[in-house]
Amino acid sequence: MDAEAAPRPFVSRDGMMLGARLTVPFIPGLVIYGSAFGTAAAQKGLTLSESMLSSAIVFAGAAQLVSLELWRDNWTFASILAITLLVMTVNARMLLMGASLQPWLHGIDGRVLWPGIHLMTDANWIIAERYRSDGGRDAGVLFGSGVLQWIIWVLAVIPGYMAGSLVEEPRRYGLDLVMPIIFAGMLVPIWKGKQDLVPWGVAGAVALTTSALVPGYAFIVAGALSGALTAALLPVRDHG
């Protein structure tokens, strides 16, 4: 394919369609968690408009759900600041996800990149990393997946808000673990050889320690940064 010979990344319609197709395995999870957010938002007293607005403009499941803990009827400057900071801590992992994709996105028109990057989720980040590790250059894969996920995510709020959650006990079917399961599976194609062993080990050890000591989501950033730093600082071994 000439896609792989292209010197710069690009965004094509074919790439966007491919991204949408690669998103299919994530759809059941998106529907269930999008509707679960709708249910939780209804219980917290948000209107349906407010719930859908949250999904449409924040577009980050974990942050939206956690933010409901700080939701209130009357807002002060302090309470808005608090919920904004909470959202930033939950989403801090996205800083690293964006950093890891940057060399792959370099050269894309800023008028596409800066608004489009708001469509990046755990799911299409991993789809893009996988596609990229196979040599793919078409950034449409990231954005096309994001568009499809956005539509599903916003619409899924409605049944959840109206009718309660779609699946009574998501835990029973392991649906609370969809993202970790996919992350675990993706470790296989992302593995590049023995040089990954020490950084990944450090990432895991630091994440486990952090999660035992610090409440919240700091473990992801702490572990991931430690792994990347380790890889950067390790001496390069010569081959042969």
């Binding site: 408009s49 992801i220 950067a232």
Partner: protein, 106 residues
């Protein structure tokens, strides 16, 4: 339909806009930062270890907190991926494993 949707309170809208902007900063910030960092060989090695490190750092603590059924599900997903290289199969293997083990009371 308007009754169903309900109003958006102005202060709630402001809170949501701040949350959205904070999220966009996280999404765009990492990309922006790396466009301003020269990609030396060292930085390249760090970046190339980053995706796997993010995945491990996300998965391990969640697995440990969620218990043996979750750990078994992640192992099943890795094994399925090693064999078939298809994420749908890996996801199916993981979900099947965790539902069976949870049904068995683990």
């Amino acid at each position: 339909m308007a009754d169903l949707l309900g109003p958006v309170a102005p202060d709630a809208a402001l809170a949501l806009i701040c949350m959205a902007f904070a999220t966009w900063l996280c999404r765009a910030g990492g990309v922006w930062l790396m466009t301003h960092v020269p990609i030396t060989p060292r930085v390249r090695r760090g970046l190339s270890a980053l995706p796997g490190s993010i995945m491990i750092a996300t998965v391990l603590p969640i697995a440990v907190k969620s218990g043996p059924a979750a750990i078994a599900a992640l192992v099943a997903a890795i094994l399925a991926m090693l064999k078939w290289r298809k994420e749908v199969i890996a996801l199916g293997a993981g979900l099947l494993t965790v539902s069976l083990l949870r049904a068995a009371g683990l």
